[in-house]
Symmetry: none
Subunit: 205 residues, 4 copies
DNA sequence: CTCTAAACGAGACGGTACGTCCAGTCTTCGG
DNA sequence: CCGAAGACTGGACGTACCGTCTCGTTTAGAG
């Protein structure tokens, strides 16, 4: 044979993570980075370093920063989002928006923000819609349904535009003003947007 | 040495622009770049090159890319935005939203997008609000006032949230879906959001 | 999730090679890669792919790229190298150098080059010497011996330095100039280096 | 106007170096890196960091690692190379080779080595020749001329191949064996290569 | 008018992050 | 168990921009 061997020892972290375990670690690192430095300050290098992963392992899964951030945000918000039943559509709606607004202050807000800007100039503008849009409408529908079941007077046949109007107003407010959304803003959305659109009695004789 | 030689020759363009003339040239170059490559693809170097200006002349006026883009967008939209009186609040609203949506396809949309993302992580959130927010509410107020003057049944005492709801819905739709906004989306906003909120008769017995 | 799916399918090639057969296949793949892309362009992945072998199977045998390349070069040149007897030391020498120079144009040259650079910074300098050095001296000694047997006037007691001078001159010329070595260069080495050093009559009164 | 200004202070090293001063700093950093980690271990990042320069400032001047290293080696060896006149061609030659061999132990050897390997696979194989080849022949010619002036019997009309044979033998020995070259090797080159080729009396009756 | 200070164009500079490539190690499976 | 396959960590690559700085030139405005 012919071996003259430079030793070149190599002490890497063991055991090596793969597949789902690694994926989760990367997404968690992404969430942490988003919380610390925000979307604009997030770098692939920093995520890789925090996750103790190679950059290639990230790029193999998500081709862009936007895709990574969207996946992280999706994972983060997968848990329970349904607000408790307070017995009143008005209060239910406020509670829901308050919880959403609180989330927006953290990594979720940063993820949403980043997803918007990067997906706007991408080839796949519809990807973001899947992640972002349905949620607000679904929860709103649930709240309205609960109210109807309780016997509250609710408009029948609410459209997507009408159901998602409150959460959209909140999102846009956050996009433009940033930071924490005050209760007064949320109440304004509830009283002036959700109630007029959703409650039948507000249109009554 | 092996490579390189000093420049020496120097043929600069004359006469040199200053003050307002230079500023306008830079903003126009910014608009043009936004239209061509979008906000994410816009670089200060490219703007400077297109404007045949030094980068310092840009940074002297606007400290960041976001500031430059917002200034350019502001300048671009300074012109008339008030839609013609079609004799119907419904048609007026659609026409206005159609014009706005058309603008969003071009540099204005890119500017808005960029302003959102960069201002979110800045120390001065809220600055964007001044530029972006008032407009939609103002035009909506004008349309409603015209309708009232024509005798159309319009809700009195509409709030900011209610007046800006349609334009906000459009903006958010653009942010999330990108690209051209279809007429059907605009009509949905008009019929399901603007009319229910603004027209008194739609709440009638 | 948003992207990606696990591989699952797995069609391995059968039957599996082992031991000598596998080793030969790897070395042949190495030679082929050297010929195609040169030493600098050679990658372990490419060799493994071409040999349809796992990278581990390579690293198990040769710890570094340099070791692999040297082994491949050694195997490749194991065959007959002795030039035919032309009846003249001068012509024999030229023929031999010509053949050697021709080899240098192909994988052998690339292997030699790579071995030099990688072994220079290794812990085991001198290993390369075993592979590379003896050959030139041995063939030169053979040529001189044949000439002596034919009755040509040849200096007795030629040293290693003197015997390997022509082949060394050729190697260095190749290292520095690269590419194909012209006949004129080889003739210069023969006439101005080999003959003065080796032929007794050229030192005669 | 429209300025909302994030301060973004920036404390870089001042005054900034340019042109010749910067070039020298980079080459010195290259020499230092070569001495510390050798050619194979040298990275553009490390050179840039040590020189406190941007990588672009290096790439602007030298397109490849090989070009940088060659320039550094050239700069480093620009100083006096001519050995002192010892009164004997034999001793002069040894002294010269000893000095050359000593240099090869340091950054010059690494530079030569690296230049060889990277230029071999380049488009400009002739570039290296200019840097490397002339020197050995020139000094040898000078030594021989001095000997002739002293009255030593020297062969007239020595060719390039003959003049550069000793230094080439040394270079190749270094390439293959690496590390420090022993005096005995140098004396062998002097006695068995330089003297037989250069001294007329060694061919005399 | 001349003189001076500021603004300007051009682009080199130090620096950060990018997305890619490869070396060498580790894991997973099938035979 | 070994071999094929290939994912993994780590690190250098060469590029793109950022925002600053240096260099001469041009211009405006004061004396």
């Amino acid at each position: 044979m012919l071996v003259w061997c430079s030793p070149m020892t190599d002490h890497r972290s063991n055991p090596r993570r793969r597949g789902q375990e690694l994926e989760t670690a990367i997404l968690e690192a992404t969430i942490a980075e988003l919380a610390e430095v925000g979307y604009a300050g997030l770098t692939m290098d920093a995520v890789a370093a925090r996750a103790k992963a190679g950059k290639v392992s990230i790029y193999r899964r998500w081709p862009t920063k936007a895709a990574l951030v969207m996946a992280a945000g999706y994972q983060y918000t997968r848990g329970a989002q349904v607000p408790p039943d307070t017995g009143s559509l008005r209060q239910d709606t406020f509670t829901w928006l308050r919880g959403f607004a609180d989330q927006l202050e953290g990594p979720v807000g940063q993820a949403l923000l980043g997803a918007v800007v990067d997906s706007a100039n991408s080839e796949q503008p519809g990807e973001l819609a899947k992640l972002s849009e349905g949620r607000g409408r679904q929860v709103a529908e649930l709240l309205v349904q609960r109210a109807r079941n309780r016997g509250e007077p609710v408009v029948a046949g609410l459209t997507d535009v009408q159901l998602s109007a409150p959460s959209n107003a909140l999102k846009l407010y956050y996009f433009i003003h940033g930071g924490r959304v005050d209760d007064s803003v949320l109440w304004a959305i509830v009283e002036e947007l959700a109630m007029p659109l959703w409650r039948a009695e507000s249109r009554g004789c």
